[in-house]
Symmetry: C2
Subunit: 562 residues, 2 copies
C-alpha cells in the first residue's frame, strides 16, 4: 500500500486539555527527519519508557520502518505543532490478525496535555475501521502516566504483570464508558480553549488607531473603558502611543506574554500579523477585520490551529466577559449590557451590535458574549461546551444563521439543555449567504425544526421573542412541571390564557381564578398569593386588565410583593 496514501478523514485538529490545539495525521515517509529530531528532543527517561532501554539514537533502518507504514496493518499518527512532531502513537497488527500492539510517546514538555488519551482514541477508531478488535500494550510498571491513560480510557482492561512490565489487553468495541470518557475529554478541552479566549491575562490590539473613525480605535476604547483586568498593548507601527497607552510597532516588540491578539487591520496584512503572533506565542486570535477571500481564511485558520492557536472570526464583532475579575470587552459594540447570568452567541457582527444594544435597553445582563463572524474556527458548539460547566451562566441565547456541525450541535445542546435553558433564533430560512456556504452544512427548515425539538432548544421567531423569553428565564425559576394556574381580574382573558396554554401542551392546574373587575390591589394580590402556594401548581399566569379608577402601578406593586 502507498505509504503516502492514508484515509483523509484520519486527519484532525484536536484541542488539548489546556485548550491549545495540535494537528493529528498519519505518518508518511517525509516525516523521517522530523521523527529523528523528535526522538533527539526526548529525555532519557521518556525514551526508556517507550523503548524499554536507552536507545539514544534512532538508526536509519528503524527510522525508515517507523515512518513508512501501510495505514492498515501498521498505523502511526503524529501530533504536529507547527512544523514539529510533539507526539507519536502507533499500532502493529499481530499474527492473529484481530489484535494489534499499541504504543505512544509524547515529547516531555507536552506530557500532561492529554495527548496520550487523544492518540489512543484516534488509533482505536482507525483500528476498528481496519477490522481489528483488540489492543494489547506493554507498559513499564513505573510509567504511571501511561498506565493512567489506558485505565482512564473507559475500556474493560485485562492486566498481567511480569518482571516490571504490565501487559494490558482490551476489546476495542466502544463501551458506554469509553464514549463518555472521550466526550468528557473533548468537552473539557474545548471548554478550556474557550475559557483561555475569554480570560486572557493580556490583550494586544493589532491595528489600534488614533483615528476615531477606525475600528481599531473603537476596540481600544472599549477595552479601556471596560477597565480590563490585565494590560492592553496597542500595536501601531506609526504612533508611539494610542489613546494615551504606549504602542508597539509589532506584537513581537511587546515586552510581555500576549494571551489574546485582536486583529483590526485590513485583510491584506493579516498573514504577516499571523506569523508575528505565532512567533510571539499568542494563544488566541480574534479577527474583527473583514476577510472576503475564503481561501485566505482557511489558510489562516489551519496555520493557527496547527500552531496551537484558536481563532475567532474573521468578521467577528468580538468577545465579552463581564466577570469582575476579567472585565473584557474586546468588541466594536458602542453599547453593552451590564453583568448578568446569560451567555450569548451570535455570528454576524452587524446583528450583534443591534442585539447588544437591545439587551442593554431591556436590562438583560450577560455573563459572556461571543460574536464569531464567519466561525472559521471557534463556533457556537465551542461555546455550548464552555457554558456547560461555566458557573457564571444559567441561560444560553443563540442567534444562528447556519449550522457548522449540526450533529455535534444536537449532542451538545441536548446535554447542556438539561441544566441550562437554551433559547435560539435561527434566521436564513429562505436566504442563503453564499459566502458562508463553505462553512455551513445546508439544513432544511423541517430538519432545523426537528433538531431544535429533539434537543429541547426553545426556538423563537424574532429578536423580540428572544428577549421576552430570555428575561423570563433569567428572572423566573424553571417550573417543576406542566401544571399552570391562571389568576386574573377578567374572566374572558383568563379563559383565553387557559386556552393558549392547553394548546401548547401544558396542563391547567385548576379553573382560572377571577377576582372580578372591581377587586382592589390587595384582594388581587391575596388571590395570587394563595394560588401560588398550592402544591399542585407548577407555574402561575396572572392576567390583568387595568381598572379605570386606579392606576395600574398600584396593582403592579401589590402583585410584586405578593
Amino acid at each position: 500500500m502507498d505509504p503516502y496514501d492514508y484515509p483523509r478523514h484520519w486527519e484532525a485538529d484536536v484541542v488539548l486539555s489546556d485548550g491549545g490545539t495540535v494537528h493529528l495525521r498519519p505518518i508518511t515517509p517525509d516525516d523521517a527527519d522530523r521523527l529523528l529530531a523528535f526522538h533527539g528532543r526526548l529525555s532519557e527517561r521518556t525514551r526508556y519508557f517507550r523503548y524499554f532501554g536507552p536507545y539514544p539514537r534512532m538508526p536509519q533502518r528503524d527510522l525508515e520502518r517507523f515512518s513508512t507504514v501501510d495505514h492498515s496493518d501498521r498505523v502511526a499518527f503524529v501530533a504536529m505543532l507547527g512544523h514539529d512532531i510533539v507526539a507519536v502513537g502507533r499500532y502493529d497488527r499481530l499474527h492473529d490478525g484481530e489484535s494489534a500492539e499499541v504504543a505512544f510517546v509524547v515529547e516531555d514538555p507536552h506530557q500532561g496535555r492529554g495527548l496520550g488519551s487523544i492518540l489512543l482514541e484516534h488509533l482505536a477508531a482507525a483500528a476498528r475501521e481496519s477490522g481489528l478488535t483488540r489492543f494489547v500494550a506493554e507498559v513499564l510498571a513505573e510509567n504511571g502516566q501511561m498506565v493512567r491513560v489506558f485505565r482512564d480510557a473507559g475500556y474493560q482492561i485485562a492486566r498481567s504483570f511480569e518482571e516490571g512490565t504490565l501487559h494490558l489487553e482490551f476489546a476495542l468495541d466502544p463501551t458506554a464508558q469509553s464514549v463518555a470518557v472521550a466526550r468528557s475529554r473533548e468537552q473539557a478541552a474545548e471548554a478550556r480553549s474557550v475559557r483561555n479566549l475569554l480570560t486572557p491575562r493580556s490583550v494586544a490590539l493589532i491595528g489600534a488607531s488614533t483615528d476615531h473613525a477606525k475600528i481599531g480605535h473603537a476596540v481600544l476604547t472599549n477595552l479601556l473603558v471596560a477597565d480590563f483586568a490585565g494590560p492592553v498593548y496597542p500595536v501601531n507601527p506609526e504612533h508611539r502611543s494610542v489613546r494615551g497607552v504606549r504602542a508597539y510597532a509589532s506584537v513581537l516588540d511587546i515586552p510581555d506574554d500576549v494571551d489574546l491578539a485582536v486583529v483590526a487591520i485590513p485583510a491584506a496584512g493579516i498573514e504577516d500579523v499571523l506569523d508575528a503572533c505565532l512567533a510571539k506565542g499568542v494563544k488566541a486570535l480574534l479577527v474583527v477585520s473583514t476577510v472576503v477571500d475564503r481561501d485566505a481564511e482557511r489558510r489562516l485558520v489551519s496555520q493557527a490551529r496547527a500552531h496551537g492557536m484558536r481563532v475567532v472570526g474573521p468578521n467577528a464583532l468580538g468577545v465579552v466577559n463581564t466577570d469582575p475579575e476579567v472585565r473584557l470587552n474586546a468588541t466594536l459594540a458602542p453599547k453593552l449590557p451590564g453583568r448578568g447570568r446569560t451567555g450569548f452567541f451570535c455570528q454576524s457582527g452587524a446583528l450583534g451590535i443591534a442585539i447588544l444594544a437591545t439587551a442593554a435597553e431591556r436590562g438583560l445582563g450577560l455573563s459572556t458574549f461571543v460574536s464569531a463572524g464567519n466561525r472559521a474556527d471557534v463556533s457556537g458548539n465551542d461555546l455550548l461546551q464552555y457554558w456547560a460547566d461555566d458557573p457564571a451562566t444559567d441561560v444560553v441565547l443563540l442567534y444562528l444563521e447556519s449550522f457548522g456541525n449540526p450533529r455535534k450541535f444536537a449532542r451538545l445542546a441536548r446535554r447542556l439543555g438539561r441544566h441550562k435553558p437554551i433559547v435560539a433564533v435561527k434566521t436564513g430560512r429562505h436566504a442563503v449567504n453564499p459566502g458562508m456556504a463553505g462553512f455551513a452544512v445546508p439544513v432544511d427548515e423541517a430538519s432545523v425544526q426537528s433538531l431544535f425539538e429533539q434537543t429541547g432548544v426553545i426556538r423563537v421567531e424574532s429578536l423580540g421573542q428572544l428577549f421576552d423569553t430570555a428575561l423570563l428565564l433569567a428572572h423566573q425559576p424553571l417550573p417543576a412541571g406542566p401544571r399552570v394556574a391562571v389568576v386574573g381580574n377578567s374572566n374572558a382573558i383568563g379563559l383565553l390564557a387557559a386556552d393558549a396554554l392547553l394548546s401548547q401542551g401544558l396542563e391547567l392546574a385548576r379553573e382560572p381564578v377571577d377576582v372580578g373587575a372591581h377587586a382592589g390591589p390587595e384582594e388581587f394580590a391575596e388571590a395570587v398569593r394563595s394560588t401560588a402556594q398550592c402544591t399542585d401548581v407548577d407555574a402561575l399566569v396572572v392576567v390583568f386588565v387595568p381598572p379605570i379608577a386606579m392606576p395600574a402601578a398600584v396593582y403592579a406593586k401589590a402583585l410584586r410583593e405578593a
Copy 2:
C-alpha cells in the same frame, strides 16, 4: 573675610532657556573636589577657551585659590545641578578698585542653555553691590558663543582686538536694554519651563490605583479619557496593570523617558518617589497628594529645583492643556470644560473642581489650566510668563488666595495685560490660611486693590462675576474706545444702563435708543444693526424687556443675526 560666609541673597534657583533649573550660589572651599571633577569633565576646547591654553589638570594651588574667595574683591558663582558643578563664573577686582575682570566656563553638555548670560547677570549684580562700576573681559575671538553672551547682554561694550583676543569693557550700571534683556531672558525661560510642564511627551502616574475611590484612579481615568497624545505609564508596585494599562513597580522601571510625573501617593512616600524621579530624569513633578509638613515640602522643592526639575503643588488639583496636539488632563476634576482660548490659574484644589465644573456648565472653553495648590515652586507668576507668548490664550483668569511675589506679579501682569485681558478674583481678604503663611507675602486689602488697579487687572468680586466677565471677553472683541451706545425696548432701563456706564467712567456715544415696547423682533434688530454701524460707537449695550405677546427666543434669534 570668611570664605564660607557669603551674602545669602546671592543664592538663587534659576530657570534656564530650555525650562530646566539650576541652583546658583557663591563658591566655598568645600567645592574644591567638585571643581576638580568639573574641570576634568570639560572638553579640551572648552578648557582652551577659558584658560587660553591646554591646562589639562588643575594643580592643587590653583584649586585652592579658585575655591577660596572673599566674596568682595574675588567673587565666584557655581551653578549646581544636583551635587555637580555645571558652570562657574568669577570676577577679580583690578588694581583701580573700580573694575573687575570677569570670566566664566560652562560644562560642554550644558552650553547653549543660557548659563553664561545668567552668570553674567548675577555677577554684575554682586559687583554693583561691592562698589564695582566696570567689567573687563578677555575672550578668544574664535569663542563666538562667549562673545555673543557679552554682546547680547544689553550693555554698551567697548572692544579692542589684539593677537586673536578680544578685549571687552563695559559699565555695570543697568541700562534700559540690559534690564529688558534680563527680563526677556527670564520670561522666555520661565515660559519654556511651564511649556515643558504643559506639553509632556509622556506622563507617569505614581500611585495609579485600581481602587475607584482613590485619587490615583481618578487621575488615570482623566488622562486616558482625555486621549493624551503620548503614553501614560501607571506606577503601582502591586498590580501588573491598572485600568487596562501596563503598570510598573517604580518610575525607574518605565522603558521610556518620562517628562511629567504625577504623584498621587500619601505624603510619607514622596521622598522616595522624588529620588526615583530624579534618577529617572523626570522633567516636572505634579504633586496632587496632600502634604501638610511645610519642611518636607521645602526640602522636596529645593531638591527638585537643584536637580533641574519643576514642581507643581503639593495639594495641586492638576494641570490641563486642551491643545489638540497634547490633550493633557492631569487633574482630579470629574468635569472639564471644552477647548477655548482662556487660560486659568488657581491655587486650591477644592475650589478648582467647582471652577472647572462651572466653566463647563457656562460654556467657557479653556486653553490651559493650572491649579498649583501650595505653589511651592510653580506659581501664578510662571503662568503669566507662559501666557504672555502663548498663541492659544487670549484671556487670562486668576483665582488668587495670596501673593507669593507681589512685585513680580505687578510687573508681569502690567506687561501681559497690554495684550491679553486679565480677570482676577482675590479671596482671603479676612481669612488667613496659616498653612500658606510661609509662602505668601501678606498684602493688605488696600494694596491688593491698588496693585490690581495699577496693573490693569480686572478685579471681580465673585465666581459669578468672573465667568460673566470671562465670557464677555472670550466672545466679544475688546472695544476700541470708551464710547458706548444703548439700544432697547424700554426707555427706563435704557436710562439705567446709561447711568451705570457713565458712573464707570465710560462715555455715552448718543442718547439711548428706545424702539418702544411694541417693536417686533425685526424692528428691534434693525435698530441694533444701524447703531452698531455708527463710526462713533465703540461698544453697544442692548437692553431688552420680554414683551407679553411674543416669546423672547424670537427676539434673541433676530438680535443674534443683527
